[in-house]
Each structure stands twice: as C-alpha cells, then as structure tokens.
C-alpha cells in the first residue's frame, strides 16, 4: 500500500465514512481486498480511531446537554498532564478532551442528559480531583457546526439541470 493510496482512502473516508468498500475501491482505483487491508492498517496503526455519525440532537426528541468546561490544573512531582487526562478521559460523559494553550489547561466537552446531570458530574467528578484548581463551565446553547458538518439547511442545488 503506497502512502498516496492510503491518503486517498483517508480523504474518501473523511468525506463519508459510510462509503462501501466497493465504492471506495472504485474511487481510489484499488481493488476491494486492498481497500479492506488498507483500512485495517489505518485502524491498527491508530490513524483511524473510530467512526460515528454527526448527530444534531436538536432535531431529535431526546434531551441532550453539551457543556464546554475549561479546567485548570496544578501539577506536582507525581502528577503530570497525562495522568489528569487519563483520569478524565475514562468517564463516558467526557466526549472530547484536549490539552490546550492559553488561559487554561484542558478543554473538556461533556455530554449529558440534562443540565443537572452535567453540573453534578463536574461537581462530583471533575472539580474534586486533587490536581484541578479551577473549572469554568459553558453550556452550549445552539450547535451550528460539528466535525466539519454545518447544521443549517445547506445550499440548494439551483443549477440549471442541463447546461453547456
């Protein structure tokens, strides 16, 4: 598998991770066996970590609350960023976790069933961690775009149906 074939495959999956192996083969010029093998390789190498849909929860009748939490930590000889991250990442409620530059250390996105749920999680599980010195919680009010997908109505295809 050449690096460029792997890249082409990755680009196709980024466009739509649900393309069938057959279609991926057609798009990349690889045969289906090679596509399967390349995807297995991307997964085994930890390049592709998972696949999931981009869900607009506001379009469902399920209550979902998303909060962005700024977390500040104080490290000591026994505790590094990785230790704190490992501790936080273990919770299902933590959807996204990044160490960031700037005024705080961790950017944590929490997904819960209700505001009470999320607040309780932060109060009971995040704030009490010995390394954590401060948390600032922002509840998301509306999502406009996620993982590269805009949640608006999109552009209509208003082209003439046949043109030169």
């Amino acid at each position: 598998m050449t690096a460029s074939a792997r890249d082409a495959l990755l680009e196709s999956l980024l466009e739509n991770a649900r393309y069938t192996t057959e279609d991926l083969a057609r798009m990349t010029g690889l045969d289906e066996g090679d596509v399967e093998a390349a995807i297995a390789e991307l997964e085994a190498d930890g390049v592709v970590r998972g696949y999931r849909p981009v869900v607009d929860w506001e379009s469902t009748d399920r209550e979902r609350v998303r909060a962005v939490v700024e977390v500040n930590v104080e490290l000591d000889r026994e505790t590094g960023y990785a230790d704190v991250a490992e501790r936080l990442a273990g919770y299902d409620a933590v959807d996204t976790l990044r160490l960031v530059s700037g005024d705080y250390d961790f950017h944590v996105e929490i997904l819960g069933e209700s505001m009470r749920d999320v607040s309780a999680f932060i109060a009971d599980e995040v704030a009490p961690l010995p390394a954590v010195t401060q948390t600032v919680t922002h509840y998301a009010m509306t999502t406009y775009k996620e993982s590269g997908v805009e949640f608006g109505d999109g552009d209509d295809d208003d082209r003439l149906s046949v043109s030169p």
Partner: protein, 382 residues
C-alpha cells in the same frame, strides 16, 4: 412587421442542449449528469470578500482592464502555476467570464470571410462566436484513438494551414481530454509554420488529475501568436459571478480591450473582489474540490467499465466522454435514458459532428447521485 433579425443571428441555430434541458425540466426525479458547472458553492472566503466589498460600497466601475490589484494577482498566479509571464499593465484583460474573452478574441482577430479552425468536439460557443464575428468555421476533428487530443495530422488533413485562427481547449469540454507538452509541440510548430493566431481556452487548467497543465503559449514561437483564456468559473466554482480573463501580447490584449471598453466598460466589480480573494486564499479549497472530482472520475470510469461501456480515461475538467453503449445515435440514447430512468446526459453531437456516437457525462455531481445515476443506467441497459 416586427423586428427582423440580422442574417448573422439567423445563421446560428439555437443550442442543441436546449431540448434536453426542457425534457429534464419536465420531471422532478431527474439526476443530471448534464451540468457544465461545478456543484460546489464558491469558496467561503471569496464569497465573504464579495459581501465585504459591497458593504464598503465598492460598487462603481473599475478600470476597463480590471482592478490593477487583480491583474497583478493574476499575473503572479499564472506565473507561479503555469510558467506564463504576462505584464499586469497591458497583457491581461479581466472580462465578464471566459465567455466574453472568447467572444472578444473572435471580434478582435477575425475579418469577414476569415477561416477559424476549431478543434472538435468543442465547447458550444466557439462556432456561433466565429459566425457572429463574420468568420467561417473549419472543424478540425479529434479522435477517440488519440484520446481526443488535437493532432498535427488532423490539422493538415482538414486544411487548417489556410486558416487565420485556431481555437483549442484543453482540458476539453466536452471530452475531458488533456494535452501534455509533447502533444502540444507539433501543434505549436504547425501554428508557427502556418502563421496561425491561437486562441487557447484554458478555463479547466486547474482541473487535471494525472499530469500538470502546460499552456501552448509557453512553447517556442507561441507567445507572440497566442491569447490564453482562463477564468474563475470552473476552478473556483464561481460561474454565477461571471469573471474571466485573457492574456496575450500587448497589441492583441489592447485590441480586445478596445471592444471591451465600449461593449462592457468593465467586468463586474463585486466579482473582481471575490476573484482577488480567491487567488489570495483559496488554494486549499481548489485542492479539495479537485480531489473530490478525481474520486468521482475514478468512480464513474470504474462503473462504465463494470457496465461494459467503452470510455477513454479522461484526465481533466469534470467530464467523461463514453461511447453510446447501444446502436442508437447519442441523441436518441440520451432522450430514451432521460425518459425511462430520469438520468440526463448530453449527446456528444451537440459539440460538433465529431461528437456523434458519444455522450458527455459530467461528474460535477455528488457521489450519492453518481451512484444512483449509474445504477439507473445499469437498469436501463439490462
């Protein structure tokens, strides 16, 4: 008695594409592979630049030739990308689409009765443009066996040595054909030997999937006899903004500008601001769109092969040009396919007699639609 149309207008028939447009409009489940423009919207940065310019009240005419900053950006862009060297001052003219540039070229270089050789199949505007300018069209065929590249033999056999002007377009609409430097060289030699002026429509230059673009104007002896037409419609998905440009030796470009300054004054100002931004910051967007076209091209060619449809491997623009898979004419096949399965394609004959027996299939359409359309095509052929 009403208004009588000029003979020149009467001499040009309405476009053959019209019939398919009307048929396609009759039903609402049509998937169209008959569209000659990108399905992407203009890159966001270019769109916001247009809006910003409106908000700043930049709504007056520009210089006839176009904004100096835009001409300079074009000069830098074609220099870096295609090795073309044109002076922003007097060798570049910004036009209302490549369409205007092509029209200006004919009006500026063609005398009544002059012969204009047109490599066919060809974009539908060339022949009418030549007729409106009072010239005579001399079709020069290109063949599938040459992957629809223009050859020196075809130029010789069709008598193009006696023409005044040669019009060519690679990457090509409708075939998707491209020409490498080694293919362009004999054409350039022929043009020099026979003192032809060349109008090279390179509007699809940025959309090539297997090799770099070479402009015929970069070959020996060609700069002084070539005007290169390009624009923003295809590469930057800006068709509705109507912006193109033409580059060539000063006398040629200033000659075209003389018509443009009376006929157009200046190209749309809002579009010029969008275009400047496109050149400055939209390379990534172009790369992304090009990669998407390439995936679709591979997909479409793979599907044709599975369906047993003969199709040469087109390497540019966003068109494939397969053979008609039945013993019908392209026109009859396209009409039946549209009526039976709601898939629109354009018969090759619309682009000149040499296109008969082929179909133009555009892949400026999302992959879901391409899959559905080719599935319907498969059902139709069963």
């Amino acid at each position: 008695m009403g208004i009588e149309l000029s003979e020149r207008v009467q001499a040009v028939p309405p476009s053959g594409i019209r019939k398919f447009f009307e048929l396609a409009e009759e039903r609402d489940d049509v998937i169209s592979l008959g569209v000659g423009e990108p399905d992407f919207a203009t890159p966001w940065r270019a769109r916001t630049a247009a809006v910003d310019s409106l908000e700043r009240g930049q709504t007056s005419y520009t210089a006839n030739r176009g904004m100096a900053s835009l001409r300079e950006a074009i000069s830098d862009h074609v220099g870096a990308k295609y090795d073309l060297a044109y002076d922003a001052e007097d060798e570049i003219l910004v036009t209302a689409g490549a369409s205007e540039a092509v029209d200006l070229a004919f009006r500026a270089f063609v005398n009544p009765g002059d012969t204009v050789a047109v490599a066919e199949p060809a974009y539908v505007s060339y022949a009418p443009g030549v007729t409106f300018a009072g010239g005579e069209v001399l079709p020069v065929p290109t063949y599938e066996r040459d992957e629809f590249r223009l050859t020196r033999e075809a130029l010789e056999e069709s008598g193009a040595a006696d023409a005044e002007v040669l019009v060519m377009c690679f990457p090509n609409n409708p075939t998707g054909a491209t020409m490498r430097e080694e293919h362009l060289r004999p054409i350039a030699e022929f043009a020099v030997e026979n003192d032809l002026t060349v109008v090279s429509d390179e509007i699809y230059a940025a959309l090539q999937y297997e090799h770099e673009h070479t402009s015929i104007a970069t070959l020996p002896g060609m700069r002084e006899r070539t005007v290169v037409v390009n624009g923003f419609s295809k590469a930057y998905a800006m068709t509705g903004l109507r912006l193109g440009y033409v580059m060539g030796p000063s006398e040629a470009v200033m000659g075209m500008n003389r018509i443009h300054q009376y006929g157009m004054l200046s190209a749309p100002t809002t579009a010029q601001h969008a275009a400047l931004e496109a050149l400055e910051s939209c390379d990534d967007a172009v790369a992304e769109m090009t990669a998407a076209y390439d995936r679709r091209r591979n997909f479409l060619l793979a599907r044709f092969e599975e369906l047993g449809i003969e199709c040469f491997r087109a390497k540019g623009a966003f068109y494939a040009f397969p053979e008609v898979p039945t013993d019908q004419t392209g026109d009859a096949f396209a009409e039946d396919l549209l009526k039976a399965e709601g898939v629109a394609v354009v018969p090759g004959s619309v682009f000149g007699d040499g296109g008969e027996g082929h179909l133009r299939v555009s892949y400026a359409t999302g992959l879901e639609d391409l899959r559905e359309a080719t599935d319907r095509l498969e059902r139709f052929l069963d």
